[in-house]
């Protein structure tokens, strides 16, 4: 059985979508981030970085945080949505990392300045809007050539990016 600590955010939905694809049984433990539940001791014991999602797999005793790590963990546990070798594996990992390091953090930055704090910094809004437009251009360019981010198959790279 898998315990998932999450909330309805893009990073959490990566994992719930993968779990649903896999048909794995899991218990959802809501961590209400607006109430500050991610700072409670019980949660910090699983993720010292106070961010959702985090996962405990009672079958293996593995607990892990960071959505990208959880996606790789579940994909390797089940042998699905992450090719085992070759360029397909390389492409899945680099597009997953592209989401983790670029698309995700930059959308988060833009949301902070443009949606939650408009007018605080025109410079920061313009900075992140430029970067997000660039990243959508890269995504569109890739998907103009291939069906899915890794090439031929639906993978954890798509599941990381879609939410």
């Amino acid at each position: 059985m898998i315990d998932l600590y999450a909330w309805a955010t893009p990073n959490s939905r990566k994992v719930t979508i993968l779990l649903e694809e896999l048909g794995l049984a899991y218990r959802l433990h809501p961590v209400q981030i607006r109430l500050g539940e991610q700072h409670r001791h019980q949660f910090l014991a699983i993720n010292p970085n106070n961010k959702i999602p985090a996962l405990v797999d009672h079958e293996t005793g593995i607990q892990t945080f960071e959505s990208g790590a959880i996606l790789i963990y579940l994909a390797e546990k089940t042998g699905r949505f992450l090719p085992k070798s070759g360029q397909a594996r390389a492409a899945t990992l680099h597009w997953l990392m592209w989401q983790m390091s670029g698309f995700g953090p930059m959308l988060g930055n833009l949301e902070h300045f443009s949606k939650l704090n408009p007018g605080r910094s025109a410079d920061a809004e313009a900075h992140f809007q430029r970067e997000i437009r660039r990243l959508y251009g890269v995504l569109n360019g890739r998907l103009g050539e291939t069906d899915h981010l890794n090439g031929d198959a639906y993978s954890i790279a798509d599941m990381a990016t879609w939410p």
Binding site: G86, M97, M100, P105, M106
Partner: protein, 210 residues
């Protein structure tokens, strides 16, 4: 043989340090980002996101971009710096992702707002410096009870994180405020492979010491 397309940035140095640790043969192709080399069609064919680093492994023709993916690839290729034992393996990958999703992008914004555009937005400078210091605190707590980020062994999680911590001077962060991070930082700085990797491409910059 590995063809490496890179430059002397934190993300670039992750890979040169890893390659030096592994003793793998590689050819460095400098992509001078100050001269927009990353927008040239031959580079975009390898890295469509126009970012360094990227590699081509001429042993099997595989190409990769994104430093975190390259580190995982090289670790899996050689069986080094990413443990195969379950608990240590997942600790390595989660702390690698912590670097990729947090340390890198947030400290990158600190460099943008605090170092390069200090007069543009006090609010943004403060936001990213506060987040940077929070991340240092998380690392300091982790390294208080563990020698390395994954627990017991030097791994790609440390190799990914160290070059960003090596910009603490740009971030206006005093590493001595985070004594466990400072201990870890100095240990890695003393490794010969770190010193060789730091200097590819050749640089007059010295490794900053707290």
């Amino acid at each position: 043989m590995i063809d490496l397309y890179s430059w002397g940035t934190p993300n670039g140095r992750k890979i040169t340090i890893m390659l030096e640790e592994l003793g793998l043969e590689y050819t460095m192709h400098p992509i001078n980002i100050a001269k927009d080399d990353q927008f040239k069609p031959e580079f975009l064919a390898i890295s469509p996101n126009n970012k360094i680093p990227a590699i081509v492994d001429t042993d099997n023709g595989q190409t990769l971009f994104e430093s975190g993916a390259i580190l995982m690839y090289l670790a899996e290729k050689t069986g080094k710096f990413m443990p195969t034992e379950d608990k240590a393996r997942w600790a390595t990958i989660e702390w690698l992702m912590f670097q990729m999703g947090g340390v890198g992008p947030m400290m990158g914004q600190t460099h943008h707002f605090v170092k390069y555009n200090a007069d543009k937005s006090a609010y943004a400078s403060d936001r990213y410096l506060t987040e940077t210091k929070r991340l240092y605190k998380v690392m300091d707590a982790r390294l208080a009870n563990n020698e390395w980020l994954n627990g017991d062994s030097y791994s790609i999680a440390d190799i990914a994180t160290w070059p960003w911590v090596a910009r603490h001077d740009w971030q206006t962060v005093d590493l001595n405020d985070y004594p466990n991070v400072a201990r870890w930082y100095k240990t890695i700085a003393a490794r010969p492979a770190t010193q060789r990797g730091w200097n590819v491409p050749e640089t007059e910059q010295k490794i900053p010491m707290p």
